[in-house]
Symmetry: C2
Subunit: 306 residues, 2 copies
């Protein structure tokens, strides 16, 4: 049995070929989140990543895609990929399986945006994932937006000076707020242009109190979503994933655990057990009636993070 | 002497024909803010409004446009309108003249977004106008976004129930958060889709404490911008304009004056003296060396709000 799983992300695409003996190979291509790169690029990069696995005739193909809410989008991707039988899952579903391998728990993705999913005894609770105009606290866009806002507030005299004003102007290569706004809004992807500043927040936090404070606020927001899931479902293990979390676990984990404790939840946050591409493959296997204990165990043993 | 002024707004276009005897006629067309309706529609509606003034050969044409930062945009509009000599000004410049007739003062526009301009003895201070991704507090988009966020927070158990959850779902004709997010993000103009909720906030505020609280927060943000301008320039008269302010002056004025007082500024906020279309005409006259005391006085006498 051969199953292909794809993690269609905003910065890269990862495809995996999974057998009952475990993950055979991984292949990569550029970004393929249709919401940020468009259908055509998404299709091309997903195709490239799958081709990278070699010539195979899979029994199931599963794709995990950020915030998938549209049947028509799934239909268009199936068509352009020539994979009429592919199984599409929302990225937060794949993230949940990547963390708990079909067990109960609460998972959060901190990527460009953020979203949360709690599952207990078959009951599901979805939180967050409101998109960049309405929420996404804790993700890269939120961090970049708050930092740029803080810089604008400093420059225009609404806030006292901090590390942000100078660093933001330098990062975007501009001299004043007019140029800064122009660079961001005239960019092809203003949301990405704002999110790209997030790594600077973590770098500044080593020495700058205002950057540390911003990370604390982000952590408090993330804890708020997790706490709401725990209130709805009762005590459960909690896991976080997504590029912002995985790249900054050492600084974010204690902040979020601390914020959860101040909300009355003593939780040790874990990372994902298997890669999200493998989780998408497992979800496809389940949808096609091909899921076995052996397959899950093989994935758990061979789909680890390097 | 004949001068045409145009207020190119997000909901309508207003054109005026101004002589030294005063405003001769006004004409109207649909929205023409290029940032929200696109260049083609903007050009068509500006053209329609100007045609509505009859066949005239103006000595100057002035157009006030929201957040105009791009020379190329002005160039494209000149070309498609066949008005190579037209004078383009940012809406906040026209708003300042509409409030102070070339005198000193601080003006704020509360429209879909918000922006502020203080002028004293030739020194200018621009504040806000950071666009919907980064700021625009106090405008319709801000009010709609905060209300929809509050509804999402209530529905997902992050906040206690208030008047917002049910009213937001009803306004958008949806049953749950998934449908709500879909209606907003799949709209052709998600920013406008969010801003359209703002009038409901004012309606709810008559009976709902959380809606009153949201208006107080908006007023505090507006006061913050005004206070920063007053700190930079010293004491000055303050005026507000824009559809959100003009349609809700009775509720917003005392809130903003109160917030300013708590920041140490005792100010009576005034409304605009002349319509923004007339202010755009006056700015065009000035740019062409045609401005006279008589023209300004005539505008002040005949360009009032009905």
């Amino acid at each position: 049995m051969l199953i292909i799983g794809v993690d269609a992300g905003g910065t890269k695409t990862e495809a995996v070929l999974l057998r009952e003996e475990g993950a055979v190979s991984f292949a990569y291509a550029g970004p393929s989140n249709p919401a940020s790169v468009g259908l055509e690029t998404a299709c091309r990069n997903i195709g490239k990543a799958i081709e990278g696995l070699g010539t195979v005739k899979p029994d199931a193909v599963g794709l995990g895609i950020a915030g998938l809410v549209d049947e028509r989008l799934a239909g268009s991707l199936k068509k352009c990929l020539g994979l009429e039988d592919a199984v599409f899952v929302e990225d937060v579903e794949a993230a949940h399986v990547s963390a708990f391998l079909f067990g109960d728990g609460v998972v959060g993705i901190l990527g460009t945006g953020s979203s949360f999913l709690g599952v207990k005894g078959g009951v599901k609770v979805r939180l967050g994932g409101w998109g960049h105009l309405l929420g996404d606290e804790g993700g890269a866009y939120y961090l970049g937006r708050e930092a740029v806002r803080r810089a604008l507030r400093e420059i225009e005299g609404l806030d006292s000076p901090s590390c942000f004003a100078e660093d933001v102007l330098k990062h975007y290569g501009v001299k004043n707020t007019g140029e800064l706004l122009y660079v961001i809004y005239s960019s092809e992807n203003p949301r990405g242009k704002i999110a790209e500043y997030a790594p600077r927040v973590f770098a500044l936090a080593e020495t700058c109190a205002e950057a540390q404070e911003l990370l604390r606020r982000a952590a408090a927001h993330v804890a708020e979503y997790i706490a709401a899931a725990l209130r709805a479902l009762g005590p459960l293990p909690v896991a976080l994933t997504g590029s912002v979390y995985l790249n900054n676990e050492a600084s974010l984990r204690p902040l979020i655990e601390g914020a959860l404790e101040s909300l009355g939840h003593r939780v040790e946050i874990r990372g994902p057990a298997v890669r999200q591409s493998c989780a998408a493959a497992l979800l496809a296997a389940r949808a096609k009636g091909l899921l076995s204990k052996r397959l899950v165990e093989a994935a758990a043993a061979t789909c680890r993070f390097k």
